[in-house]
Amino acid sequence: MNATVSFMLNGKPVTVSSPSDRKLVWVLRDELGLTGTKVGCEAGLCGACTVLVDFEAVPSCSTTLGEVAGKAVLTIEGLAVDGLLNPVQKAFQEQHAFQCGYCTSGMILTAWAFLKKKPKASRAEIVEAMEGNICRCGAHVRILEAVETAGKTMGGVR
């Protein structure tokens, strides 16, 4: 049975009519056409579908539509503002912190949520924060460096 659910999506209000237990990843991809959020495992194990709900990084494959009612959802499409790349995106771009790109949206959003809270993080803390996101191509070393660089640009210079 469909429910009418309103939430903020990338800074704009949206209203969706869909079963409230429908997984957010399908609402985003299938209903709203935001395909930057990827599907990797559908079990919250790989991080490819990570989005931010009220600035917390969550796997959208394990989050329901009902759970985001009234909340703010940020997807990769909403991260650059007026064409200006977010510091994490910029660092990923400059340091080539990706290969196939399938994990990239989730990596960037996970890193952004973490750095917002802790821009001055140590390498060990970054590793811990990123541990839930899988990269199969092996871009890990660059991803860690990019997250560190982004943290510094965000004013977290250590």
Binding site: V39, C41, T75, Q99, G101, C103, C137
Partner: protein, 719 residues
């Protein structure tokens, strides 16, 4: 105009001078499968406004093909790579090409594309010389403009010269610019796919959202060897909007919503029949040895083994195994297929657009001209997307529902179940070293599960035999190419065995390889690796936890050095440091090449330490990333990559070579740390603990996996 739109317009109709029927989508020159076209127009087109489009039948898998191929074109045409608009992997628009695998792009395609670009450069300069009435030698070219050096105001442009037409002049083979004049090759350039990938704009096969798409979920048997007999679809069909497609043992549930299709599939009650293989992930090694035995044949035979063994002062017998391993691309197999006006179009996640065209045409009994593959950004390949079973499924369904796009997106369980795994294998080696530690007097290997690839490389061996089985359907599970196929299995065995010989003879493993190396390039590479990493010669085990291994793929050579810490109570191996010194000839795109090496090292840490497909009969027990363990951030060591300065103009691919020695370097590092030899890939904590137990109970005379050695029905020669 968006980039892709421009390219499609360019090839499909913008060159209206040559196309009487607008909207036609056939290529400029129909390309013959099996050969590169000689006409450069197949690869390069210049639009009326001077934009350069490059068409290549490869896929962007993340390996950076898009960027490095654009560099080659930009180099010849004096452009920025950003100005070369790439269209990859569309079988209607791009000339035929080999699959994107086996490190073939830089080895096979790159020289052809570079030659085509060089010819275009010469043709453009010739046209400009005529137009500006000065000799070619007096002309300069940059950013799509050509001008008279002495009078820069006298100028023209690519667009003005070509006028949107096909270039009709042909000059035959034109030499590319000499390396000394190259300004891009060897320089770091920004990846062309960066912006699309960091903003979520990059379209993978599952992201197309074509209007009217139906998502199809295929009913799977619970085990390999079983097929569908009966299906009760009544409950599924009660879900509004569901359609069922059935063709013999093939049944798919379709719905406009992907998740609803998946839920409806779960309502189908199927019965299955068939015989599962009677084997599991523990018994597989004996199974392979037994099944291979009657078909063993000698693939390499050189010198007298018996005489060689008599000359040996140190003899080691080793047995090495590796498990089935999945490609586990983060993007599972995905395809959208549409049957329209007698043609099948597939938007696919594939490494091999032209092979897939053939695969689909064969499966559906269509002519190849009736199938078009449009390759999207591919979320990882590694050999796993050389075949396209998921695409064939999409096409089969689409054939029954004309005009409706059919999307098949395997979920993780399907992807792990249906993957064509890196084959499990057993390699037995008996070999010996002379008293002076300067020569391998004999080397006798017998394998089951893989074949010869790269088994003979690298060292002088006085007497050598390599036996591999010619047994059809040896494996109970589907197997396929996995990054550096055969080579990494053989290298793991060879480099572990050599390390065991060195340790038993009490000789430093670097010194031993120095004496045995039969290629001056390998000697230089060993020096480069050891100097960069730091190495105090000493026979192992030293307790330092440093391991060395060498590897080859075609002419590409790699020396790997690893440092590990082994927790002797848990058996957990932590990789602290990993270096690879790489010689792949001319490195066109150093940062791209470095990414490939970093990626290979990282991926193979998973291969060496944790990745293994567990199965029982035809049932695959690993269904997701909770039990199928890929390396995560905490597993990543400090990684160093150095390239040999080779002073050559030829280029080898870089996708496979850095894979080859990783597991062996790690196993040798574990030995150096503990004195325990791990011989079973992956060396999980349990296997490391078993190996550690063996050290305390027996001397390292022989190298055997635990718990018990396998006796082949055909044994290596005993003199």
């Amino acid at each position: 105009m968006k980039r892709r739109t421009f390219l499609q317009a360019t090839a499909a109709g913008a060159f209206t001078f040559f196309f009487s029927s607008p909207g036609r989508t056939a290529p400029v020159e129909p390309t013959r499968p099996g050969a590169y076209p000689e006409d450069f127009n197949a690869f390069l087109k210049i639009s009326a406004d001077g934009r350069v489009g490059c068409f290549v039948g490869k896929a962007e898998l993340g390996q950076g093909a898009m960027t490095v191929l654009a560099m080659l074109v930009a180099e010849e045409l004096e452009l920025d790579p950003a100005q070369v608009e790439m269209l990859l992997g569309d079988t209607d628009l791009c000339p035929w090409d080999l699959p994107t695998g086996g490190s073939l792009t830089m080895w096979q395609t790159a020289p052809v594309l570079r030659g085509a670009a060089a010819e275009v450069r010469a043709v453009l300069l010739g046209m400009a010389s005529k137009a500006l009435k000065v000799p070619v030698a007096d002309l300069a070219m940059k950013d799509g403009a050509i001008w008279v050096k002495a009078a820069p105001e006298r100028r023209t442009s690519f667009g003005e010269l070509v006028k949107g037409r096909k270039m009709e002049r042909h000059l035959g083979k034109v030499k590319p610019k000499p390396l000394s004049e190259c300004t891009l090759i060897g320089r770091r350039v920004p990846r062309k796919d960066a912006l699309a990938k960091i903003t979520g704009a990059a379209k993978y096969a599952g992201d197309l959202c074509l209007p009217g798409t139906l998502h199809a979920c295929v009913l799977r048997p619970p085990a390999h060897g079983q097929v569908l007999v009966t299906a009760d679809t009544a409950a599924a069909e009660r879900v509004p909007g569901v359609r069922i497609v059935r063709e013999g043992t093939f049944l798919a549930v379709l719905h406009a919503q992907p998740d609803t299709a998946r839920k409806a599939l779960a309502l189908v009650k199927g019965t299955f029949e068939g015989t599962e293989p009677d084997v599991d992930d523990v018994r597989i090694f004996q199974y392979l040895v037994d099944k291979a035995a009657p078909g063993q044949r000698v693939v390499i035979s050189r010198g007298d083994l018996a005489a060689g063994e008599k000359r040996a002062a140190t003899v080691v017998e080793g047995e090495y195994r590796n498990a089935y391993e999945s490609h586990a691309t983060l993007e599972p197999h995905t395809c959208v297929a549409k049957w329209e006006e007698g043609r099948m179009t597939l938007w696919a996640s594939t490494q091999a657009p032209f092979l897939l065209r053939e695969e689909v045409a064969t499966a559906l009994k269509l002519g190849q001209d009736k199938v078009r593959i449009i390759t999207q950004f591919v979320g990882g390949g590694f050999g796993g997307k050389l075949a396209g079973p998921g695409s064939v499924e999409a096409a089969r369904i689409a054939r029954q529902i004309p005009g409706v796009p059919i999307q098949v997106s395997w979920n993780r369980e399907e992807d792990l179940f249906l993957d064509a795994y890196r084959p499990a294998a057993v390699v037995k080696i008996r070999s010996g070293l002379d008293a002076g530690h300067g020569a391998i007097t004999f080397w006798d290997s017998i394998v089951a599960g893989v074949s010869q690839g790269e088994a003979e490389f690298l060292y002088d061996i006085q007497a050598n035999r390599y036996q591999a089985p010619a047994v059809p359907n040896l494996h109970p599970l589907k197997v396929g190419a996995w990054r550096a196929p055969n080579a990494h299995t053989n290298a793991f065995a060879r480099e572990s065995q050599l390390d065991a010989l060195a340790a038993k003879a009490g000789v430093d493993p670097v010194t031993l390889r120095h004496r045995l190396a039969n290629d001056p390039r390998l000697l230089r590479l060993l020096d480069l690796a050891v100097e960069t990493f730091g190495w105090d010669p000493a026979p192992g085990p030293t307790g330092r936890g440093i391991g060395l291994a060498c590897g080859a793929w075609r002419q590409g050579l790699v020396v790997a050095l690893a440092q590990v810490v082994v927790d002797k109570t848990t058996g957990k191996v932590k990789v602290e440091r990993f270096l690879e010194a790489v010689d792949v000839g001319l490195v066109v795109n150093p940062d791209g090449a470095r990414q490939q090496v970093e990626g290979a090292i990282t991926m193979c840490i998973g291969q060496a330490l944790s990745e293994e497909i567990r199965f029982k009969g035809g049932r695959i027990l690993d269904k997701n990333f909770d039990t199928y363990v890929l390396p995560r951030f905490s597993a990543i060591p400090r990684i160093q990559v150095v390239f040999a300065d080779t002073n050559t103009a030829t280029t080898q691919g870089i996708g496979e070579p850095p894979v080859v020695p990783v597991a062996a370097a790690l196993a040798n590092a574990v030995f150096d740390a503990t004195g325990a030899r791990v011989t079973h890939v992956p060396f999980t904590p349990e296997r490391v603990l078993e190996a550690l137990k063996l050290v305390s109970t027996k001397p390292q005379d022989s190298v055997a996996p635990v718990p018990s050695s396998i006796s082949p029905k055909v044994s290596p020669s005993k003199p």
